[in-house]
Protein backbone atom coordinates (compact mmCIF):
# COMPACT_ATOMS: atom_id res chain seq x y z
CA UNK A 1 0.00 0.00 0.00
CA UNK A 2 1.24 3.45 -0.84
CA UNK A 3 0.55 4.79 2.62
CA UNK A 4 2.71 2.08 4.20
CA UNK A 5 5.65 2.99 2.02
CA UNK A 6 5.62 6.62 3.02
CA UNK A 7 5.11 5.79 6.67
CA UNK A 8 8.54 4.27 6.80
CA UNK A 9 8.32 0.56 6.15
CA UNK A 10 10.78 1.06 3.25
CA UNK A 11 14.16 2.42 4.35
CA UNK A 12 15.03 5.79 2.88
CA UNK A 13 18.31 5.29 1.06
CA UNK A 14 20.43 8.28 0.16
CA UNK A 15 19.34 9.73 -3.18
CA UNK A 16 16.04 7.88 -3.14
CA UNK A 17 12.78 9.76 -3.19
CA UNK A 18 9.57 8.26 -2.00
CA UNK A 19 6.38 9.91 -3.19
CA UNK A 20 2.94 8.86 -2.15
CA UNK A 21 0.75 7.66 -4.97
CA UNK A 22 -2.66 9.21 -5.20
CA UNK A 23 -4.13 5.92 -6.38
CA UNK A 24 -2.69 2.48 -5.97
CA UNK A 25 -4.35 1.00 -9.02
CA UNK A 26 -3.49 -0.05 -12.54
CA UNK A 27 -5.48 0.44 -15.69
CA UNK A 28 -5.71 -2.63 -17.86
CA UNK A 29 -6.91 -2.33 -21.45
CA UNK A 30 -8.59 -5.49 -22.65
CA UNK A 31 -9.15 -5.40 -26.38
CA UNK A 32 -10.02 -3.97 -28.87
CA UNK A 33 -8.20 -6.61 -30.89
CA UNK A 34 -10.73 -9.37 -30.52
CA UNK A 35 -10.81 -10.23 -26.82
CA UNK A 36 -13.14 -13.07 -27.70
CA UNK A 37 -15.52 -12.56 -30.51
CA UNK A 38 -15.79 -9.17 -32.14
CA UNK A 39 -14.09 -5.90 -31.44
CA UNK A 40 -14.62 -4.06 -28.21
CA UNK A 41 -12.46 -2.78 -25.42
CA UNK A 42 -12.94 -2.93 -21.69
CA UNK A 43 -10.92 -0.48 -19.65
CA UNK A 44 -10.47 -2.03 -16.24
CA UNK A 45 -8.97 -0.39 -13.19
CA UNK A 46 -7.55 -3.01 -10.89
CA UNK A 47 -6.44 -2.86 -7.29
CA UNK A 48 -4.28 -5.93 -6.94
CA UNK A 49 -6.39 -8.28 -9.03
CA UNK A 50 -9.73 -6.90 -7.92
CA UNK A 51 -11.57 -4.77 -10.44
CA UNK A 52 -12.57 -1.41 -9.03
CA UNK A 53 -13.79 0.38 -12.16
CA UNK A 54 -14.89 -1.12 -15.45
CA UNK A 55 -15.56 1.04 -18.45
CA UNK A 56 -16.82 -0.64 -21.61
CA UNK A 57 -15.44 1.23 -24.62
CA UNK A 58 -17.52 0.18 -27.59
CA UNK A 59 -18.08 1.31 -31.15
CA UNK A 60 -15.19 -0.32 -32.99
CA UNK A 61 -17.49 -1.87 -35.59
CA UNK A 62 -20.02 0.94 -35.71
CA UNK A 63 -21.70 1.47 -39.09
CA UNK A 64 -24.35 4.11 -38.33
CA UNK A 65 -27.16 1.93 -39.60
CA UNK A 66 -29.77 4.40 -38.34
CA UNK A 67 -28.38 7.02 -40.71
CA UNK A 68 -27.92 4.64 -43.63
CA UNK A 69 -31.54 3.54 -43.22
CA UNK A 70 -32.74 7.09 -43.81
CA UNK A 71 -31.38 6.97 -47.35
CA UNK A 72 -32.67 3.61 -48.46
CA UNK A 73 -35.98 2.30 -49.73
CA UNK A 74 -38.12 0.63 -47.08
CA UNK A 75 -37.49 -2.86 -48.39
CA UNK A 76 -33.73 -2.35 -48.79
CA UNK A 77 -33.34 -1.75 -45.08
CA UNK A 78 -34.10 -5.39 -44.32
CA UNK A 79 -30.78 -6.70 -45.70
CA UNK A 80 -29.05 -3.75 -44.02
CA UNK A 81 -30.32 -4.40 -40.49
CA UNK A 82 -29.61 -8.07 -40.89
CA UNK A 83 -25.90 -7.28 -40.84
CA UNK A 84 -26.12 -6.48 -37.14
CA UNK A 85 -26.24 -10.14 -36.23
CA UNK A 86 -26.17 -12.37 -39.24
CA UNK A 87 -26.52 -15.48 -37.11
CA UNK A 88 -29.85 -14.20 -35.77
CA UNK A 89 -31.04 -12.58 -38.97
CA UNK A 90 -34.77 -13.29 -38.79
CA UNK A 91 -35.17 -12.12 -35.19
CA UNK A 92 -33.15 -8.99 -35.84
CA UNK A 93 -35.18 -7.78 -38.82
CA UNK A 94 -38.61 -8.96 -37.68
CA UNK A 95 -39.47 -5.96 -35.46
CA UNK A 96 -38.62 -3.60 -38.33
CA UNK A 97 -40.94 -5.54 -40.62
CA UNK A 98 -43.63 -5.57 -37.92
CA UNK A 99 -43.33 -1.85 -37.30
CA UNK A 100 -43.67 -1.08 -41.01
CA UNK A 101 -46.61 -3.47 -41.24
CA UNK A 102 -48.27 -1.53 -38.43
CA UNK A 103 -47.85 1.65 -40.44
CA UNK A 104 -49.11 -0.01 -43.61
CA UNK A 105 -52.00 -1.63 -41.75
CA UNK A 106 -51.32 -5.07 -43.22
CA UNK A 107 -51.38 -8.31 -41.28
CA UNK A 108 -49.47 -11.33 -42.55
CA UNK A 109 -51.53 -14.46 -43.29
CA UNK A 110 -51.43 -17.36 -40.82
CA UNK A 111 -48.97 -19.40 -42.80
CA UNK A 112 -46.50 -16.52 -42.89
CA UNK A 113 -46.86 -16.10 -39.14
CA UNK A 114 -45.93 -19.73 -38.57
CA UNK A 115 -43.08 -19.61 -41.08
CA UNK A 116 -41.62 -16.57 -39.32
CA UNK A 117 -41.98 -18.24 -35.94
CA UNK A 118 -40.23 -21.32 -37.29
CA UNK A 119 -37.25 -19.38 -38.63
CA UNK A 120 -37.05 -17.25 -35.48
CA UNK A 121 -36.67 -20.36 -33.36
CA UNK A 122 -34.11 -21.91 -35.72
CA UNK A 123 -32.17 -18.65 -35.47
CA UNK A 124 -32.50 -18.57 -31.70
CA UNK A 125 -30.97 -22.02 -31.37
CA UNK A 126 -28.15 -21.13 -33.76
CA UNK A 127 -27.52 -17.91 -31.84
CA UNK A 128 -27.46 -19.63 -28.44
CA UNK A 129 -25.10 -22.31 -29.74
CA UNK A 130 -22.80 -19.63 -31.10
CA UNK A 131 -22.84 -17.82 -27.77
CA UNK A 132 -22.16 -21.00 -25.84
CA UNK A 133 -19.30 -21.93 -28.14
CA UNK A 134 -17.61 -18.58 -27.60
CA UNK A 135 -18.26 -18.89 -23.88
CA UNK A 136 -16.46 -22.24 -23.96
CA UNK A 137 -13.41 -20.67 -25.59
CA UNK A 138 -13.39 -17.95 -22.94
CA UNK A 139 -13.10 -20.55 -20.23
CA UNK A 140 -10.53 -22.60 -22.12
CA UNK A 141 -13.04 -25.32 -22.91
CA UNK A 142 -12.37 -25.78 -26.60
CA UNK A 143 -14.39 -29.00 -26.85
CA UNK A 144 -17.63 -27.14 -26.23
CA UNK A 145 -16.63 -24.62 -28.87
CA UNK A 146 -16.19 -27.38 -31.46
CA UNK A 147 -19.40 -29.12 -30.42
CA UNK A 148 -21.54 -26.02 -30.37
CA UNK A 149 -20.29 -24.76 -33.70
CA UNK A 150 -20.70 -28.19 -35.23
CA UNK A 151 -24.27 -28.52 -33.98
CA UNK A 152 -25.07 -25.00 -35.06
CA UNK A 153 -24.43 -26.18 -38.61
CA UNK A 154 -27.51 -28.43 -38.36
CA UNK A 155 -29.73 -25.39 -37.80
CA UNK A 156 -27.96 -23.28 -40.37
CA UNK A 157 -28.66 -26.05 -42.87
CA UNK A 158 -32.32 -26.01 -41.87
CA UNK A 159 -32.44 -22.26 -42.41
CA UNK A 160 -30.79 -22.72 -45.79
CA UNK A 161 -33.39 -25.26 -46.89
CA UNK A 162 -36.08 -22.87 -45.80
CA UNK A 163 -34.77 -19.59 -47.16
CA UNK A 164 -31.98 -20.38 -49.61
CA UNK A 165 -29.32 -18.63 -47.55
CA UNK A 166 -27.26 -19.87 -44.62
CA UNK A 167 -27.10 -16.64 -42.65
CA UNK A 168 -28.46 -13.48 -44.22
CA UNK A 169 -31.89 -14.80 -45.12
CA UNK A 170 -33.89 -11.56 -45.54
CA UNK A 171 -36.82 -13.89 -45.00
CA UNK A 172 -39.60 -11.79 -43.46
CA UNK A 173 -40.79 -9.05 -45.82
CA UNK A 174 -43.72 -6.66 -45.42
CA UNK A 175 -46.96 -8.59 -45.57
CA UNK A 176 -45.48 -12.06 -45.33
CA UNK A 177 -42.34 -14.02 -46.06
CA UNK A 178 -40.17 -14.37 -49.12
CA UNK A 179 -40.92 -17.99 -49.93
CA UNK A 180 -42.42 -21.22 -48.67
CA UNK A 181 -40.66 -24.29 -47.28
CA UNK A 182 -39.82 -27.29 -49.48
CA UNK A 183 -41.94 -30.40 -49.09
CA UNK A 184 -39.32 -32.46 -47.25
CA UNK A 185 -38.63 -29.75 -44.69
CA UNK A 186 -40.84 -30.99 -41.82
CA UNK A 187 -39.12 -34.36 -41.86
CA UNK A 188 -35.65 -32.77 -41.75
CA UNK A 189 -36.70 -30.42 -38.97
CA UNK A 190 -37.92 -33.34 -36.84
CA UNK A 191 -34.64 -35.17 -37.36
CA UNK A 192 -32.75 -32.06 -36.28
CA UNK A 193 -34.82 -31.54 -33.12
CA UNK A 194 -34.42 -35.19 -32.12
CA UNK A 195 -30.66 -34.97 -32.61
CA UNK A 196 -30.36 -31.71 -30.68
CA UNK A 197 -32.35 -32.96 -27.68
CA UNK A 198 -29.86 -35.76 -27.17
CA UNK A 199 -26.95 -33.40 -27.61
CA UNK A 200 -28.22 -31.01 -24.94
CA UNK A 201 -27.90 -33.75 -22.32
CA UNK A 202 -24.30 -34.25 -23.40
CA UNK A 203 -23.67 -30.51 -23.17
CA UNK A 204 -24.80 -30.62 -19.57
CA UNK A 205 -22.43 -33.48 -18.86
CA UNK A 206 -19.35 -32.05 -20.52
CA UNK A 207 -19.81 -28.36 -19.73
CA UNK A 208 -22.47 -27.23 -17.30
CA UNK A 209 -21.95 -30.00 -14.76
CA UNK A 210 -18.20 -30.15 -15.29
CA UNK A 211 -16.59 -29.40 -11.88
CA UNK A 212 -13.92 -27.16 -13.44
CA UNK A 213 -16.48 -25.05 -15.26
CA UNK A 214 -18.80 -24.91 -12.28
CA UNK A 215 -16.07 -23.61 -10.02
CA UNK A 216 -15.42 -20.81 -12.52
CA UNK A 217 -19.08 -19.89 -12.93
CA UNK A 218 -21.00 -20.66 -9.78
CA UNK A 219 -21.66 -17.60 -7.61
CA UNK A 220 -19.67 -15.44 -10.04
CA UNK A 221 -21.26 -12.28 -11.36
CA UNK A 222 -24.42 -12.54 -9.30
CA UNK A 223 -27.01 -10.10 -10.59
CA UNK A 224 -30.00 -9.68 -8.33
CA UNK A 225 -33.53 -9.33 -9.64
CA UNK A 226 -33.61 -5.66 -8.72
CA UNK A 227 -30.24 -4.86 -10.25
CA UNK A 228 -31.20 -6.59 -13.50
CA UNK A 229 -34.44 -4.60 -13.62
CA UNK A 230 -32.70 -1.35 -12.78
CA UNK A 231 -30.09 -1.82 -15.50
CA UNK A 232 -32.72 -2.87 -18.05
CA UNK A 233 -30.98 -6.15 -18.84
CA UNK A 234 -32.68 -8.27 -21.51
CA UNK A 235 -33.08 -11.81 -22.67
CA UNK A 236 -31.81 -15.00 -21.03
CA UNK A 237 -29.60 -12.87 -18.76
CA UNK A 238 -32.68 -11.21 -17.31
CA UNK A 239 -34.54 -14.47 -16.88
CA UNK A 240 -31.49 -16.01 -15.20
CA UNK A 241 -31.93 -13.33 -12.52
CA UNK A 242 -35.48 -14.35 -11.74
CA UNK A 243 -37.46 -11.84 -13.80
CA UNK A 244 -40.24 -13.49 -15.74
CA UNK A 245 -40.22 -11.31 -18.83
CA UNK A 246 -40.20 -12.51 -22.40
CA UNK A 247 -41.79 -10.60 -25.26
CA UNK A 248 -43.09 -13.88 -26.65
CA UNK A 249 -45.09 -14.18 -23.45
CA UNK A 250 -45.87 -10.60 -22.49
CA UNK A 251 -46.89 -9.34 -25.93
CA UNK A 252 -47.24 -12.41 -28.17
CA UNK A 253 -46.37 -11.69 -31.77
CA UNK A 254 -46.54 -13.89 -34.89
CA UNK A 255 -47.67 -17.39 -33.92
CA UNK A 256 -46.35 -17.37 -30.34
CA UNK A 257 -49.83 -16.91 -28.98
CA UNK A 258 -50.90 -20.22 -30.53
CA UNK A 259 -47.99 -22.51 -29.66
CA UNK A 260 -47.21 -23.96 -26.26
CA UNK A 261 -43.89 -23.32 -24.61
CA UNK A 262 -42.39 -22.45 -21.25
CA UNK A 263 -40.14 -19.61 -20.24
CA UNK A 264 -37.22 -20.94 -18.22
CA UNK A 265 -36.59 -18.65 -15.22
CA UNK A 266 -33.68 -19.09 -12.80
CA UNK A 267 -33.38 -17.47 -9.39
CA UNK A 268 -29.60 -17.66 -8.93
CA UNK A 269 -28.55 -14.84 -11.26
CA UNK A 270 -24.94 -16.04 -11.56
CA UNK A 271 -22.94 -16.91 -14.65
CA UNK A 272 -23.88 -20.57 -14.40
CA UNK A 273 -27.59 -19.70 -14.37
CA UNK A 274 -27.13 -17.60 -17.48
CA UNK A 275 -25.49 -20.56 -19.24
CA UNK A 276 -28.29 -22.90 -18.10
CA UNK A 277 -30.92 -20.44 -19.26
CA UNK A 278 -29.62 -20.75 -22.81
CA UNK A 279 -29.62 -24.53 -22.75
CA UNK A 280 -33.17 -24.63 -21.42
CA UNK A 281 -34.28 -22.10 -24.02
CA UNK A 282 -32.90 -24.29 -26.78
CA UNK A 283 -35.06 -27.11 -25.41
CA UNK A 284 -38.16 -24.91 -25.56
CA UNK A 285 -37.27 -23.71 -29.07
CA UNK A 286 -37.12 -27.33 -30.22
CA UNK A 287 -40.69 -27.80 -28.95
CA UNK A 288 -41.84 -24.71 -30.83
CA UNK A 289 -40.16 -25.87 -34.05
CA UNK A 290 -41.99 -29.19 -33.82
CA UNK A 291 -45.34 -27.52 -33.25
CA UNK A 292 -44.74 -25.09 -36.11
CA UNK A 293 -43.87 -27.79 -38.64
CA UNK A 294 -46.88 -29.83 -37.51
CA UNK A 295 -49.12 -26.84 -38.21
CA UNK A 296 -47.45 -26.15 -41.56
CA UNK A 297 -47.92 -29.77 -42.60
CA UNK A 298 -51.62 -29.63 -41.76
CA UNK A 299 -52.14 -26.42 -43.76
CA UNK A 300 -50.21 -26.97 -47.01
CA UNK A 301 -50.14 -24.52 -49.91
CA UNK A 302 -51.86 -21.69 -48.12
CA UNK A 303 -50.92 -18.18 -49.05
CA UNK A 304 -47.82 -16.83 -47.35
CA UNK A 305 -48.12 -13.24 -48.53
CA UNK A 306 -50.69 -10.52 -47.91
CA UNK A 307 -53.15 -10.21 -50.80
CA UNK A 308 -52.17 -6.59 -51.45
CA UNK A 309 -48.64 -7.65 -52.38
CA UNK A 310 -49.46 -11.09 -53.76
CA UNK A 311 -51.67 -9.77 -56.55
CA UNK A 312 -48.70 -7.87 -57.97
CA UNK A 313 -46.51 -10.99 -58.05
CA UNK A 314 -45.09 -12.02 -61.43
CA UNK A 315 -46.48 -15.15 -63.09
CA UNK A 316 -43.29 -17.13 -62.51
CA UNK A 317 -43.57 -16.49 -58.77
CA UNK A 318 -47.11 -17.80 -58.68
CA UNK A 319 -46.22 -20.81 -60.86
CA UNK A 320 -43.40 -21.83 -58.58
CA UNK A 321 -45.66 -21.48 -55.59
CA UNK A 322 -48.50 -23.50 -57.07
CA UNK A 323 -46.07 -26.34 -57.86
CA UNK A 324 -46.15 -26.04 -61.64
CA UNK A 325 -42.41 -25.46 -61.83
CA UNK A 326 -40.33 -27.40 -59.36
CA UNK A 327 -37.70 -25.84 -57.17
CA UNK A 328 -34.74 -26.66 -59.36
CA UNK A 329 -32.79 -23.45 -58.95
CA UNK A 330 -33.30 -22.80 -62.64
CA UNK A 331 -35.26 -19.63 -62.28
CA UNK A 332 -34.55 -16.40 -60.56
CA UNK A 333 -37.74 -15.33 -58.89
CA UNK A 334 -37.78 -11.63 -58.11
CA UNK A 335 -39.75 -9.94 -55.38
CA UNK A 336 -43.04 -8.24 -56.15
CA UNK A 337 -42.58 -4.95 -57.99
CA UNK A 338 -44.79 -3.17 -55.48
CA UNK A 339 -41.99 -3.34 -52.90
CA UNK A 340 -39.65 -1.27 -55.04
CA UNK A 341 -42.01 1.71 -55.18
CA UNK A 342 -43.46 1.28 -51.71
CA UNK A 343 -44.47 4.42 -49.87
CA UNK A 344 -45.45 4.03 -46.25
CA UNK A 345 -48.23 6.21 -44.78
CA UNK A 346 -47.05 8.85 -42.28
CA UNK A 347 -46.97 7.77 -38.67
CA UNK A 348 -44.93 6.44 -35.79
CA UNK A 349 -44.64 2.78 -34.87
CA UNK A 350 -42.83 0.84 -32.21
CA UNK A 351 -42.24 -2.90 -32.30
CA UNK A 352 -40.41 -5.39 -30.13
CA UNK A 353 -39.57 -9.06 -30.41
CA UNK A 354 -37.56 -11.48 -28.33
CA UNK A 355 -34.38 -12.10 -30.33
CA UNK A 356 -31.83 -14.73 -29.38
CA UNK A 357 -29.94 -12.41 -27.06
CA UNK A 358 -32.98 -10.58 -25.75
CA UNK A 359 -35.48 -7.92 -26.56
CA UNK A 360 -34.99 -6.23 -29.93
CA UNK A 361 -36.67 -2.85 -30.33
CA UNK A 362 -37.37 -0.66 -33.35
CA UNK A 363 -38.95 2.76 -33.54
CA UNK A 364 -39.93 3.69 -37.10
CA UNK A 365 -41.20 7.06 -38.21
CA UNK A 366 -42.50 7.76 -41.71
CA UNK A 367 -43.40 11.03 -43.37
CA UNK A 368 -45.01 9.36 -46.35
CA UNK A 369 -41.90 9.15 -48.51
CA UNK A 370 -40.21 6.14 -50.09
CA UNK A 371 -37.51 6.16 -47.40
CA UNK A 372 -37.98 6.19 -43.60
CA UNK A 373 -37.76 9.54 -41.79
CA UNK A 374 -36.19 7.97 -38.73
CA UNK A 375 -35.41 4.45 -37.63
CA UNK A 376 -34.21 3.86 -34.09
CA UNK A 377 -32.67 0.48 -33.40
CA UNK A 378 -31.93 -0.79 -29.91
CA UNK A 379 -30.34 -4.19 -29.95
CA UNK A 380 -30.22 -6.57 -26.98
CA UNK A 381 -26.44 -6.48 -26.58
CA UNK A 382 -26.51 -2.70 -26.40
CA UNK A 383 -28.82 -2.89 -23.43
CA UNK A 384 -26.71 -5.59 -21.79
CA UNK A 385 -23.39 -3.78 -22.09
CA UNK A 386 -24.23 -1.52 -19.15
CA UNK A 387 -24.04 -4.60 -16.91
CA UNK A 388 -20.28 -4.75 -17.35
CA UNK A 389 -19.94 -1.34 -15.80
CA UNK A 390 -22.10 -2.04 -12.76
CA UNK A 391 -21.68 -5.78 -12.24
CA UNK A 392 -17.97 -6.40 -12.67
CA UNK A 393 -16.42 -4.11 -10.03
CA UNK A 394 -15.61 -6.13 -6.93
CA UNK A 395 -14.80 -9.29 -8.86
CA UNK A 396 -11.33 -10.57 -9.59
CA UNK A 397 -9.83 -10.00 -13.01
CA UNK A 398 -9.92 -13.72 -13.77
CA UNK A 399 -13.72 -13.60 -13.43
CA UNK A 400 -13.97 -11.10 -16.27
CA UNK A 401 -14.10 -13.70 -19.07
CA UNK A 402 -16.64 -15.74 -17.11
CA UNK A 403 -18.98 -12.77 -16.67
CA UNK A 404 -18.28 -11.30 -20.08
CA UNK A 405 -18.91 -14.60 -21.85
CA UNK A 406 -21.99 -15.45 -19.81
CA UNK A 407 -23.74 -12.35 -21.15
CA UNK A 408 -23.44 -13.64 -24.73
CA UNK A 409 -22.16 -10.27 -25.87
CA UNK A 410 -21.94 -9.58 -29.60
CA UNK A 411 -20.18 -6.36 -30.67
CA UNK A 412 -21.51 -6.08 -34.26
CA UNK A 413 -24.99 -6.08 -32.79
CA UNK A 414 -24.58 -3.45 -30.10
CA UNK A 415 -22.51 -1.20 -32.34
CA UNK A 416 -25.11 -1.27 -35.14
Amino acid sequence: MASNISSGSVPHLPGMEVTELSKNTYEVYIGPAHPGSGHMRIIVEVDGDVMVRVDPDIGFVHRTMEKLAEGRDWIKNIPLFERMAILDACNITLPYVEAVERLLGTEPPDRARYLRTLLCEINRIASHLYGMGIFGVFLGHSTLYMWAFGDREVFIDLAEQMTGARLTHSYPVFGGVRRDIPDDFPENARKATKYMRNRLNEYAKIFLNNPNIRSRLENVGIMSKNLATELGIVGPNLRASGVRYDVRLNEPYEAYGDVEFEIPVFEEGDSLARAWARVEEIRQSLNIIEQAVDWLEKHPRENFMHEKFWKTAPKLYKDVFSGQIDYAGKYRVKLMPLFASLKVPPGKAFARVEAGRGEMVYYVESDGEDVPYRVRVVSPSFRNVIAFKYLMPGHRLMDLPAIYGSFDYFPPEWDR
Binding site: I43, T64, E66, A99, A349, F350, V378, R383, I386
Partner: protein, 175 residues
Protein backbone atom coordinates in the same frame (compact mmCIF):
# COMPACT_ATOMS: atom_id res chain seq x y z
CA UNK B 1 -59.91 -6.64 -29.80
CA UNK B 2 -62.66 -4.88 -27.89
CA UNK B 3 -61.15 -5.96 -24.58
CA UNK B 4 -57.74 -4.73 -25.66
CA UNK B 5 -59.05 -1.31 -26.55
CA UNK B 6 -60.81 -1.01 -23.21
CA UNK B 7 -57.54 -1.82 -21.44
CA UNK B 8 -55.71 0.81 -23.48
CA UNK B 9 -58.26 3.40 -22.48
CA UNK B 10 -57.86 2.47 -18.84
CA UNK B 11 -54.06 2.73 -19.00
CA UNK B 12 -54.43 6.13 -20.63
CA UNK B 13 -56.72 7.16 -17.80
CA UNK B 14 -54.32 5.94 -15.15
CA UNK B 15 -51.47 7.80 -16.89
CA UNK B 16 -53.57 10.95 -16.76
CA UNK B 17 -54.17 10.31 -13.06
CA UNK B 18 -50.48 9.86 -12.37
CA UNK B 19 -49.14 12.76 -14.42
CA UNK B 20 -52.15 15.11 -14.06
CA UNK B 21 -51.40 18.53 -15.59
CA UNK B 22 -47.86 17.60 -16.67
CA UNK B 23 -49.35 16.19 -19.86
CA UNK B 24 -49.50 18.39 -22.95
CA UNK B 25 -50.98 15.64 -25.08
CA UNK B 26 -51.51 11.90 -24.92
CA UNK B 27 -51.84 9.91 -28.11
CA UNK B 28 -52.18 6.26 -29.04
CA UNK B 29 -49.39 5.67 -31.56
CA UNK B 30 -48.86 2.31 -33.24
CA UNK B 31 -47.33 0.01 -30.65
CA UNK B 32 -46.94 2.55 -27.85
CA UNK B 33 -48.65 5.41 -26.05
CA UNK B 34 -47.03 8.77 -26.71
CA UNK B 35 -47.15 11.13 -23.73
CA UNK B 36 -45.83 14.62 -24.41
CA UNK B 37 -44.68 16.67 -21.41
CA UNK B 38 -42.92 20.04 -21.17
CA UNK B 39 -39.15 19.86 -20.69
CA UNK B 40 -39.20 21.43 -17.22
CA UNK B 41 -41.63 18.77 -16.00
CA UNK B 42 -39.76 15.84 -17.54
CA UNK B 43 -37.93 14.82 -14.36
CA UNK B 44 -41.06 15.15 -12.26
CA UNK B 45 -43.04 13.03 -14.74
CA UNK B 46 -40.30 10.41 -14.85
CA UNK B 47 -40.25 10.15 -11.06
CA UNK B 48 -44.01 9.71 -10.95
CA UNK B 49 -43.96 7.08 -13.70
CA UNK B 50 -41.21 5.16 -11.93
CA UNK B 51 -43.22 5.16 -8.71
CA UNK B 52 -46.19 3.94 -10.73
CA UNK B 53 -44.18 0.88 -11.80
CA UNK B 54 -42.38 1.66 -15.04
CA UNK B 55 -38.96 0.39 -14.05
CA UNK B 56 -36.73 0.53 -17.13
CA UNK B 57 -36.04 2.40 -20.36
CA UNK B 58 -36.12 0.46 -23.58
CA UNK B 59 -34.96 3.16 -25.93
CA UNK B 60 -34.00 6.81 -25.91
CA UNK B 61 -34.92 8.17 -29.32
CA UNK B 62 -34.23 11.61 -30.71
CA UNK B 63 -35.88 12.76 -33.91
CA UNK B 64 -34.65 15.82 -35.76
CA UNK B 65 -37.52 17.97 -37.10
CA UNK B 66 -35.29 20.35 -38.99
CA UNK B 67 -38.16 22.22 -40.63
CA UNK B 68 -39.68 23.08 -37.24
CA UNK B 69 -36.22 23.62 -35.66
CA UNK B 70 -37.04 21.09 -32.98
CA UNK B 71 -35.78 17.87 -31.51
CA UNK B 72 -38.23 15.42 -30.06
CA UNK B 73 -36.76 13.14 -27.41
CA UNK B 74 -38.74 10.05 -26.50
CA UNK B 75 -38.00 7.68 -23.64
CA UNK B 76 -39.74 4.39 -24.39
CA UNK B 77 -40.37 2.89 -20.99
CA UNK B 78 -42.02 -0.25 -19.70
CA UNK B 79 -42.02 -2.58 -16.74
CA UNK B 80 -40.36 -5.89 -15.94
CA UNK B 81 -41.71 -6.56 -12.49
CA UNK B 82 -45.34 -5.48 -12.96
CA UNK B 83 -46.86 -8.01 -15.32
CA UNK B 84 -49.86 -5.85 -16.18
CA UNK B 85 -47.75 -2.82 -17.11
CA UNK B 86 -45.23 -4.92 -19.04
CA UNK B 87 -47.78 -5.26 -21.84
CA UNK B 88 -47.63 -1.53 -22.53
CA UNK B 89 -44.91 0.74 -23.81
CA UNK B 90 -45.09 4.40 -22.89
CA UNK B 91 -43.24 7.00 -24.91
CA UNK B 92 -42.39 9.82 -22.51
CA UNK B 93 -41.61 12.64 -24.93
CA UNK B 94 -40.49 16.20 -24.79
CA UNK B 95 -39.73 18.77 -27.47
CA UNK B 96 -36.62 20.95 -27.24
CA UNK B 97 -35.21 23.80 -29.25
CA UNK B 98 -32.81 22.73 -32.00
CA UNK B 99 -30.48 25.71 -31.64
CA UNK B 100 -29.68 25.16 -27.96
CA UNK B 101 -30.45 21.50 -27.31
CA UNK B 102 -30.54 20.92 -23.56
CA UNK B 103 -32.69 18.70 -21.45
CA UNK B 104 -32.43 17.17 -17.98
CA UNK B 105 -30.96 13.69 -17.82
CA UNK B 106 -33.12 10.86 -16.54
CA UNK B 107 -30.17 8.53 -15.91
CA UNK B 108 -30.42 9.01 -12.17
CA UNK B 109 -34.04 7.90 -12.22
CA UNK B 110 -33.60 5.10 -14.73
CA UNK B 111 -30.01 3.80 -14.79
CA UNK B 112 -30.88 1.88 -17.94
CA UNK B 113 -31.00 5.20 -19.85
CA UNK B 114 -27.37 6.04 -19.12
CA UNK B 115 -25.66 4.59 -22.19
CA UNK B 116 -28.52 5.52 -24.50
CA UNK B 117 -28.35 9.16 -23.44
CA UNK B 118 -24.63 9.09 -24.16
CA UNK B 119 -25.45 7.77 -27.61
CA UNK B 120 -28.00 10.51 -28.30
CA UNK B 121 -25.48 13.08 -27.03
CA UNK B 122 -22.81 12.07 -29.51
CA UNK B 123 -25.08 11.56 -32.52
CA UNK B 124 -27.22 14.69 -32.14
CA UNK B 125 -25.12 16.94 -29.95
CA UNK B 126 -27.95 17.09 -27.41
CA UNK B 127 -26.69 17.87 -23.91
CA UNK B 128 -28.22 15.96 -21.01
CA UNK B 129 -27.83 18.14 -17.92
CA UNK B 130 -26.76 16.34 -14.73
CA UNK B 131 -25.85 13.19 -16.59
CA UNK B 132 -23.40 11.28 -14.35
CA UNK B 133 -20.96 10.42 -17.13
CA UNK B 134 -21.64 12.26 -20.38
CA UNK B 135 -18.83 11.07 -22.66
CA UNK B 136 -18.64 9.76 -26.19
CA UNK B 137 -19.66 6.14 -26.42
CA UNK B 138 -19.51 4.82 -29.97
CA UNK B 139 -17.93 7.52 -32.10
CA UNK B 140 -14.53 9.14 -32.24
CA UNK B 141 -14.45 12.91 -31.52
CA UNK B 142 -13.88 13.70 -35.22
CA UNK B 143 -17.07 11.98 -36.32
CA UNK B 144 -19.08 13.03 -33.27
CA UNK B 145 -18.34 16.70 -34.04
CA UNK B 146 -20.28 16.25 -37.29
CA UNK B 147 -23.41 15.19 -35.33
CA UNK B 148 -24.13 12.48 -37.86
CA UNK B 149 -27.77 11.71 -37.11
CA UNK B 150 -28.95 15.29 -37.57
CA UNK B 151 -30.82 15.81 -40.80
CA UNK B 152 -28.39 18.44 -42.06
CA UNK B 153 -25.58 15.89 -42.08
CA UNK B 154 -25.59 14.34 -45.53
CA UNK B 155 -23.97 10.95 -46.00
CA UNK B 156 -21.10 11.22 -48.43
CA UNK B 157 -19.95 8.49 -50.75
CA UNK B 158 -17.34 6.24 -49.23
CA UNK B 159 -14.63 7.54 -51.56
CA UNK B 160 -15.03 11.13 -50.35
CA UNK B 161 -12.72 12.22 -47.60
CA UNK B 162 -14.40 13.43 -44.46
CA UNK B 163 -12.95 16.75 -43.40
CA UNK B 164 -11.21 16.41 -40.07
CA UNK B 165 -12.16 19.10 -37.58
CA UNK B 166 -9.12 19.20 -35.32
CA UNK B 167 -10.51 21.98 -33.14
CA UNK B 168 -13.44 19.73 -32.31
CA UNK B 169 -11.04 16.87 -31.74
CA UNK B 170 -9.13 18.81 -29.13
CA UNK B 171 -12.20 20.33 -27.51
CA UNK B 172 -14.12 17.11 -27.00
CA UNK B 173 -13.67 15.05 -23.89
CA UNK B 174 -11.88 11.90 -24.79
CA UNK B 175 -10.48 9.06 -22.68
Amino acid sequence: MVGGEKKLISIQDSLKNVLKDNIISIEQAKGYIDVLVPTDKLVDSAKKLKEFGFDHVKSVTAVDYIAKKQFKITYHISSYLNEELSKYIIGLSTIINRDDPHLPSLSKIWVSAEFQEREVYEFFGIIFDDHPDLRLLLLTPVVAALKPLRKDFVVKEESDNIEVDYAAYNATKWW
